[in-house]
């Protein structure tokens, strides 16, 4: 009986510690997929249509020193009425926040990227959710010794440039809310 009580105490203690660790992590270390994206953080962004008159449009979207590229891409999508697109990009950053999706919490665990990094590969897409464009992009960043880190892009501060080559398709792509993950997922069947 005593043994069982002790075991109970230990289990409660373990439980408490786990709960404390859990709440410590959650404070600022995780971000919900539905978090609002700010505007006006990429004032130096420039856009050039590279093939005027064609149904499938090719754009160069170029960011400069200090621009936050993730919110900038959303502003590009809104301004140019993008309903379906995919893109690749290279460049460099002074810092970023990448994310890793935790399916248990249904949230992105933040991966802070501090200091100068190459954007070795960034690829992503743009689709509509409830009539508004949503940007989804992943990147691999490189450090001064060539080692890499990668993840879902939450924010990315450009230094000195980021060159994004965007293909905008004429047929809209739609997203739907997925209650299992709390993410919006592309559903090709949705019109």
């Amino acid at each position: 009986m005593i043994k069982i009580k002790r075991l109970g105490c230990v289990l409660v203690l373990i439980g408490l510690t786990a709960t404390m660790a859990h709440s410590q992590d959650t404070a600022g270390d995780y971000v919900a997929p539905s978090e609002a994206v700010p505007r006006g953080k990429a004032p130096r962004m420039q856009v050039q249509l590279l093939n005027p008159g064609e149904p499938t449009k090719q754009y160069a979207v170029i960011f400069y020193q200090g621009d936050e590229a993730f919110s900038g891409l959303l502003e590009f999508a809104e301004k140019y009425h993008v309903t379906s697109a995919h893109f690749t990009a290279i460049g460099a950053l002074s810092g970023a926040t990448l994310g890793w999706f935790d399916p248990q919490r249904k949230m992105y665990k933040k991966i802070p990227i501090n200091g100068q990094h190459e954007v070795i590969g960034m690829s992503g897409d743009i689709a509509l959710y409830q009539g508004k464009p949503v940007v989804h992009t992943h990147m691999v960043v490189g450090t001064s010794d060539g080692t890499t880190r990668a993840g879902h892009v939450l924010d990315a501060y450009v230094s000195p440039t980021l060159e994004v080559m965007v293909t905008v398709d004429p047929v809209a792509m739609q997203k739907r809310f997925d209650p299992e993950t709390d993410l919006t997922l592309i559903d090709p069947a949705l019109k």
Binding site: E54, G142, T143, D145, T148
Partner: protein, 143 residues
């Protein structure tokens, strides 16, 4: 390297590199030969040697971040081509995977192919121009 135009609109090329080809220099030659001035491209393949760069803000130059003198997968090569002083300039970044699955990456300085590298390039009618950016000391695309 052998190449073929696979589409007219948008003008799209497939470039197939073979063992021993060095990607950066061959691509630069191809860009000059075709008069490319507003392109984007991506590629996958495998390499026997890779030299990758990291932009150093202090010296305003690309430091050699790492040299891999071994067989690696070319997991991702993404880049673009714009004009600098009338000459096409190739800008590309690569991620390579080593035999244990770890990844290295950086600005493409040198990459020797073994056995293949498959690159798809789209060229646009509107040209992109690069100008020297005094702050970073490198030429950036200006619109």
């Amino acid at each position: 390297m052998r190449w073929k135009q696979i589409e007219d609109e948008p003008k799209t090329f497939a470039l197939i590199f073979e063992t021993g080809d060095e990607i950066a220099s061959v691509l630069q030659q191809f860009a000059r030969g075709q008069g490319l001035a507003g392109s984007s491209f991506k590629a996958i393949g495998a390499l026997s040697y890779a030299k990758l760069g990291w932009f150093n803000w202090e010296t305003k130059k690309y430091d050699p971040a790492c040299v891999l003198d071994e067989q690696v997968e070319l997991l991702s090569l993404i880049g673009d081509i714009a004009l600098r002083d009338g000459e096409p300039q190739v800008h590309a970044h690569v991620v390579v995977g080593r035999s244990d699955g770890t990844a290295h990456g950086g600005h493409l300085l040198e990459a020797r192919v073994r056995p293949t590298c498959e690159l798809i390039l789209t060229e646009n009618p509107i040209h992109l121009q690069k100008k020297l950016d005094p702050k970073s000391g490198i030429a950036l695309i200006q619109i």
